[in-house]
């Protein structure tokens, strides 16, 4: 092989590249003393804004935990890949990472993925999964025995809003506005029922396309209904600012509210004046919260001096809770399988999250039904607490 020409070299390089691509997974198995968190995380695509923050949150939690000695003697490691928020890619990442690593904890990126992979989780029985979805369907320990969410599900989020409304104004009139997606429709039916049970009057329901820009007809419907509160769900930002500014121009008295994914502070800071007074439910404290009982936020601010989005807190807390389940399982001398991990997770009672959530939390099922109402102040460019922490009673 002394007379290699350029083509031969290219050919050899390509073969070597392909060979290493195919066979590297077989050789990269994890160290025994590791605890790997796998992740199908959307770093590109429509949900990238959250995915990037989630990755940062989980990575920081891993760093802080390892600096403190790891989990029951094991070092934590995050193994993740981008999914572009597509279910088939999320499943591909799941298959890839679980082939390459010994994974018992997993972060999934969407309701669609959580539903798709559920049968596989049940079949394997080795992985406890949580993720970016707060879909109410997942809050069913019988159907989704090895999954959980680090916050209230969407129905519970709106229930927290309704509790606040009922306390503020008895018999208030409410309109629900949701996007025509699985995400948007998720809590509406149950929430309408709940509102009526709580003595609140649902005077309208508006459904818009997820990326609606022109909302003038919807605003007219809103004006006719003339609600005291308008609850949005199934959006991140658009078309909420358009709704808010047009409603202000028309002099509507309604107060506007949203759920977790539309509550990021930086989103509203760019909207400016029309955002003033926008409220919503938030299961976690904001990055800038200097409450004395939130030492972990102080640590986070030292690690990252600039504002971190709400997805960061979500990722951080999810990693914290799944790691706590692993810690309890290992300390009890049990095998790290899904059944033991979930059982350990469900033993979490009055748990201190270091201040990410302002009250001690318990996870009796698949969710953490706690949240707080925040309201945006355009003058301070910040979401400010408008209520105390609200824990839903089952």
């Amino acid at each position: 092989m002394t007379d290699l020409n350029r083509r031969d070299i290219l050919g050899l390089a390509a073969t070597a590249g392909l060979a290493s691509t195919f066979f590297s997974p077989l050789t990269a198995f994890a160290d025994e003393k590791e605890l790997v968190i796998g992740g199908s995380i959307p770093l590109t695509g429509v949900f990238a804004f959250a995915g990037v923050a989630i990755e940062a949150g989980i990575s920081d939690f891993v760093k802080i935990t390892n600096e403190a000695g790891g989990v029951a003697g094991r070092k934590l490691r995050l193994a993740y890949e981008d999914t572009a928020y597509k279910v088939d890619q999320s499943v591909a990442v799941f298959n890839k990472l679980t082939t390459q690593n010994d994974i018992h904890l997993y972060y999934g990126d969407s309701t669609g993925f959580a539903k798709t992979i559920n049968e596989e989780l049940n079949r394997r029985g080795t992985i406890l999964m949580a993720g970016a979805s707060f879909g109410s369907e997942l809050n069913n320990p019988e159907k989704y025995p090895f999954q959980f969410m680090a916050g209230p599900d969407y129905v519970e989020m709106i229930a927290i809003l309704l509790e606040y409304i009922a306390k503020e104004q008895k018999g208030a009139k409410i309109v629900f506005v949701n996007s025509d997606t699985e995400f948007g429709r998720d809590p509406i039916e149950a929430s309408v029922k709940r509102a009526k049970e709580m003595g609140l009057e649902v005077v309208g329901q508006i459904v818009t396309p997820p990326t609606a820009v022109d909302v003038s007809t919807e605003i007219l419907k809103l004006r006719r209904a003339n609600p005291d509160f308008t609850i949005f769900h199934g959006y991140v930002l658009a078309p909420l600012p358009e709704f808010l500014s047009q409603a202000k121009q028309l002099g509507l008295k309604s107060r506007f509210m949203g759920t977790f994914w539309s509550m990021d502070n930086s989103l509203w800071a760019n909207v400016g004046a029309p955002a003033d007074g926008f409220m919503g439910v938030m299961p976690y404290r904001y990055y800038y919260d200097t409450a004395p009982d939130a030492p972990i936020l102080e640590k986070i601010r030292k690690l990252r001096p600039t504002y971190q989005a709400t997805g960061y807190m979500q990722g951080f807390l999810t990693a914290m809770l799944m790691t706590e389940a692993a810690r309890r399982t290992l300390q009890a001398g049990k095998a790290l399988d899904a059944k033991n991990l979930k059982a350990a997770l469900n033993t979490i009672k009055d748990f201190d999250t270091g201040g990410i959530i302002g009250v001690p939390i318990s996870i009796p099922g698949n969710s953490v039904p706690v949240g707080r109402i925040y309201s945006y102040s355009a003058a301070d460019k910040q979401m400010k607490p408008a209520s105390d922490w609200i824990s839903l009673k089952k």
């Binding site: 691509t21 195919f22 590297s24 997974p25 077989l26 770093l43 590109t44 990238a48 990037v52 990755e55 940062a56 990575s59 993740y80 890949e81 981008d82 572009a84 279910v87 088939d88 890619q89 499943v91 591909a92 298959n95 890839k96 679980t98 082939t99 390459q100 669609g112 539903k115 798709t116 049968e119 079949r123 369907e137 025509d180 997606t181 699985e182 429709r185 998720d186």
Partner: protein
């Protein structure tokens, strides 16, 4: 070098595989496909099944767009029809797995015929818009026909069973999905050796001339839509058994664009084109992830920082192929084969 390939009969001349070299390579391919599940790990098997499903659907679209010249952006919706058909038949009637997949194809074909009706009056971009409209109507049906489709939350599909064996893992499903896709590709290759296939090509090249030649346009255009949708339906059916949950968001509009891009990148109007195109479109984003992984040691936080670059590279690769190889990846393969026809006398 290619020698001794003179044909003595018309049948030999029309054969799918005309030389011993071709036959030998085909046997090698069949052996590789048969042995692959025993060598590949779960991740690559998953991708192999996904590629096979996408190849089936892209081959169908190629019959319609590549061979008949009718642009369609409804392929994802037809796949969804197939997937829902499987979910319904499996969940409500409990009919056998392979029958469900066949029925999914037939139901999708029936819907395809309906969607294809405007093709007699409109073509090109206008037809593309008509198929987009049809896919939005179908999406509405999937969302609101709750008793059949389960509405927004969709329906779960039980694992496929064949002769009492549960086909739940990619390893097990591979042995059904890949042979079914191979059969479908073989069917498509044979189609263009028949009157029907040639009529499709005649319509693509000049529909008025085709009509003058005695080809009833409506019948053949609808037949092309039916065949294409049948392929999509079967692919959708296999998809449903593969992912085991079908929701209206399982087949977004972008999936239709994905298939059209796969057919164009692979090579319109060739059998090899959609195979290469679907493999390219499915595998390249995954392979690019390895590049990101390799850069990990030299580039801090490579996963988060380079993922957007990866999508740009993928887009750039598509543009690169369209500019430098407008006939698609199939043309590259053809060129390589031509090179070996003369090798070693001319290189």
């Amino acid at each position: 070098m290619r020698i001794a390939t003179a044909k003595e009969t018309y049948i030999a001349d029309e054969g799918l595989l005309t030389t011993n070299t071709q036959r030998a390579w085909m046997i090698v391919l069949a052996l590789v496909l048969a042995l692959a599940p025993f060598v590949l790990n779960a991740y690559w098997l998953y991708l192999a099944c996904l590629v096979a499903i996408n190849v089936a659907s892209a081959t169908g679209l190629n019959i319609l767009t590549g061979y008949t010249g009718l642009v369609s952006l409804g392929q994802a919706a037809f796949m969804a029809v197939g997937a829902y058909a499987v979910a319904f038949l499996d969940g409500h009637l409990g009919t056998p797995f392979l029958l469900n997949i066949l029925a999914a194809g037939l139901i999708a074909a029936a819907v395809g015929v309906l969607v294809g009706v405007p093709s007699l009056r409109v073509k090109g971009l206008y037809l593309a818009i008509a198929t987009i409209a049809a896919s939005f109507i179908l999406h509405f049906v999937f969302t609101n026909w709750v008793s059949v489709t389960g509405g927004m939350s969709g329906v779960n599909v039980a694992p496929a069973r064949l002769f009492g064996i549960e086909l739940a893992s990619p390893f097990a499903l591979y042995f059904v999905i890949v042979p079914v896709t191979a059969l479908m590709v073989l069917g498509a290759a044979n189609l263009f050796r028949t009157r029907i296939g040639r009529a499709f090509i005649a319509i693509r090249d000049r529909d008025i001339s085709a009509e003058v030649l005695g080809i009833p346009l409506l019948q053949y255009k609808l037949m092309s839509f039916a065949l294409s949708s049948f392929y999509a339906g079967v692919a959708g059916g296999m998809w449903a058994y593969f992912f085991r949950v079908v929701t209206p968001e399982s087949f977004p509009f972008a999936t239709s664009i994905f298939f059209l891009a796969a057919v164009i990148v692979g090579g319109l109007g060739t059998i090899l084109g959609p195979i290469l195109g679907a493999a390219f479109m499915t595998l390249v984003p995954e392979l690019l992830k390895y590049v990101v992984e390799w850069l990990g040691p030299v580039f801090p936080n490579a996963g988060a920082a380079l993922s957007p670059v990866r999508t740009i590279v993928f887009g750039a690769l598509i543009i690169f192929f369209l500019v430098f190889e407008p006939q698609g990846l199939a043309e590259i393969v053809r060129r390589v084969r031509r090179f070996f026809h003369l090798w070693p006398f001319k290189t």
